[in-house]
Symmetry: D2
């Protein structure tokens, strides 16, 4: 039961939540998907994130899913998204997740927050509710949450709450933010880990700016693992060559609301999950999009063959 720390790094793949055709949780597919992520070299997992359709699960379903995944990979750090509209629900799911062996929990700001003071107060409330001993990931994703958090506000929150050990960074644009956070640390603020989202769209630049890895759901997670390792090892051109080979698909996946459908399609097509079902109001990938994705994968494979050639 490892815990995340401010030194965690690598790729924490955001996991999809597999459903059967009738919309119920599919736990066998969950096992296979978890195994797939491990095989693709994930350093950790993040479950019940936005891409995990967390908001469409009931509270008992969420607990069932958490226990299943962590039970499958007890030695891998698993971060559990616990964002909810009420602090009691956040607190209860956190307790269940940590009891099950989670490595930490992740909370995004609710859309009602409108000023830096209300954002700061919110994370104080969250830390009070879940306890200062639970490693916490702050998810900074304004395109989805509608809550922009400035670098200075993030800094004050990090200062106030040592249990926030990690930033899930997906502000957009967000490169200067990584540099500014690292600069503040160089000037004395305690360190937080920074794992980046946005589907991996800026991964080489993010790593060069000081990120520690990725926390996102691109359907070929090994690309992210390779790029992170190569960037860390200073093999920058090689990292970029690999990244560029996957970029056309990364870009396609990054369309809001489309990414999950692409990922479930790909996982289903490869036999990882039994159904590409998305709970309403989500929809499966349209036929024209399926053809586009297949084209992109085919070109991607050819390009990778060239690179290795």
């Amino acid at each position: 039961m490892p815990l995340i720390t401010a030194r965690s790094n690598g790729v924490f793949t955001i996991s999809a939540t597999p459903f059967a055709e009738d919309g119920s949780l599919d736990l066998d597919s969950t096992d296979r998907l978890t195994d797939f992520y491990v095989k693709e070299d994930a350093s950790g997992l993040t479950i019940l994130g936005m891409m995990g359709e967390a908001s469409k699960l009931t509270q008992p379903e969420a607990r069932t899913f958490v226990e299943r995944v962590i039970g499958r990979v007890p030695d891998l750090p698993v971060v559990v998204g616990v964002s909810a509209s009420g602090l009691v629900a956040i607190s209860e799911l956190t307790k269940a997740a940590m009891d099950a062996g989670a490595a930490g929990v992740m909370v995004a700001p609710p859309p009602s927050l409108t000023t830096n003071e209300t954002i700061e107060a919110y994370y104080t409330n969250v830390v009070d509710a879940i306890g200062t001993d639970v490693p916490l990931v702050l998810q900074d994703f304004p395109l989805s949450t509608t809550v922009p958090i400035s670098t200075a506000t993030l800094g004050r929150i990090f200062e106030a709450h040592p249990s926030i050990v990690m930033l899930k960074h997906e502000d957009w644009p967000g490169l200067e933010k990584i540099s500014a956070l690292r600069k503040a640390e160089a000037e004395g603020r305690r360190r937080t880990a920074i794992l980046c989202g946005n589907g991996g769209m800026f991964l080489p630049e993010e790593m060069a700016r000081g990120a520690d890895g990725a926390m996102t759901g691109f359907c070929f997670p090994r690309m992210m693992a390779d790029v992170c390792k190569l960037m860390t090892a200073g093999e920058i051109e090689h990292a970029r060559d690999i990244f560029d080979a996957y970029l056309p698909l990364v870009r396609y996946e990054q369309q809001p609301g489309v990414g999950l459908a692409v990922r479930k399609y790909v996982f289903h097509a490869r036999g990882v999950i039994a159904s590409s079902k998305i709970r309403a109001p989500g929809a499966p990938l349209a036929p024209a999009a399926v053809a586009e994705v297949e084209t992109l994968i085919k070109r991607q494979e050819a390009r990778l063959a060239d690179l290795c050639g």
Copy 2:
């Protein structure tokens, strides 16, 4: 176990959810508050609305509260707010509520809806999920939901789903919308009940435009019951005299986020509920506001004494 229909009318008071000082559900206060609403001449109750802090309850708490209230007043129609981020949660709470004897359920549109087509599709999904036999109230409150619904879109939704028997109207401005809905009914569309929110701020005008009553949480519910009855009876000047006497407090309560604190303060001050506790991030009424509310109530009583004089 009465059900709401398109002919329901009167005042369905929006109920607060009482908490103990430690933040847990206070079921004894719930009984007293329910009794208070009945004594104040409520035609029905609406529980787990936004003012009922529904989004801060866990799913088991919500069910406990529903059962307690309905058990207390089995002959009064009780509408249960079941809005949630996922359809499965909506469906489960609806089933629990209807099994407990609810008169119907209420659903507001989630903030992700952005076009008339997505709004219409959402209510189709909801009706599919809960079943066409459950009387449904559509809550139209754009200031809070961020989802404006045009009169024509409402009309298409009502045509498509006969189980939507009631509109909780709190668009602002919203008077022309009532007139337009009633006009469409005069021209042949089936009827829906219209109960108005917004704290009662426009109750005389809303009744004159064709509303059937109020569904809101003003802390002197009898005022609303009296105004509705007098307007219906054609005693318009009398209705307005009473309304005007309460208007300074109605206006004060109508400040976003302040209303609930005023109501819990007043209910607590009168001994109806044991604590004015609001779950975080809500806050109790500030001292200066307490003084303002007391001043308004004192003047209100004097004015009412004059009227009855």
Copy 3:
């Protein structure tokens, strides 16, 4: 050519912009409307605010209107709304207004601002653009601008820019904000004037909290002047009696988008302006609303007669 200062007070009526039936500026009606405001005991005027349809005027029209109004009342302080999407336009209109004899200018934050830092930077840009010698009013109206500004952020902006001498306060809820700003001044921060908007809906409470007056467009401005004077003189019950008599109409006017139509209707009905024309996409008051307004005015007059009786 008086200038506003941090000690300005009283009622700065927000002026409508009169148009002829063909939509062109009506300068004769402008003269009569200006005279009307003076007769109603305005301490100053604010022109080209949101209610003045400023965003629908071309830049030359704005300058023509400014010169006409100030030319009519050269001894009355006239604040000119200069909000625009670009700083060059703000700067040019400010120069034209101050050259014409304006008492100061007013700027609201543009909707693109999302954090306290960007809001603070914006007012630095504005002050740089217009010069530190121009008295500036900061308009804090989140319901319309979509930019919430916390009390602490306001404080930092006031500290940084002594030329910001006045706050147009229309945050909602906003009473605690007035108290907090006055408290900071009691603890040493320099003073700013606070004139309140929101149609006057909370004028007695605002004055009691420390506001200096009103800056809003209620169509019976004398009510606001009387309430401000009586509150300042400590005749609080008398002030509230007058306020309550007008409150049903104040409330009606405060419906977003409806207020201007009510005001132009009333001014036209009384012969102050030649047409109640509003530039598209605005619309004149609907017939049912006209009847509602007339009813409210009739009851208002009766109530005032009672009070004076």
Copy 4:
């Protein structure tokens, strides 16, 4: 003085607006930039778009810029962005632009529009204001305008207003929208041209779905011209090879607010414009970003050399 039509196609490059270091319009750089676009194989130009900092220009500056550009390339179709907060301003700039020889004008919906009915009414107002003889481009860019327009709503607007001959498509995700619009045309609705924005991020897929070209500002416009031509000629793999070579930079440029800084940096670095000045609150490219852009361009050139090799 060519006019755009429903059969227009190719690349209408969105032009930047060059400023001198002191922030004034730089008309000599404007000439060079216009020449550059022509040399890069632009089929047309679009000026005073969002990327053209249109909202930061005064009305006289806008007219000066329009006349300069059109005067430089009198035979090239030039679309002029005329979005403004008031219809009178839209109408005046449209008249000035068409008098100067523009090929048409472009209007985006203002953020105040909230329902399909208000969006439809807005375009009726616009067409009434500018006249039915002016070719109009509807800009559909919800990420920036905050106004989502459904495919069905677009269809009704196109049916109602034959003068709307072109859609600037930058909904995101937006591929299904192109397919749906073309399907409606196949079933009998009149044709509109569809030129795509979003920095060219989805250009191959957009062309395959039926788009007629691009209207966006990527700083190597010839890429877009080549991809459009190759896609139209059925040389799809070749088109994708070229596209993929530029994609890392396209992606980088597509960061909101960063794109313009990248473009002005690149144009300045190549000697096309005299300064990379952006009017406040815009900022020039940060040093770390400059290095990132240079790296991307270097790799892009190597990749293109490989392709041609």
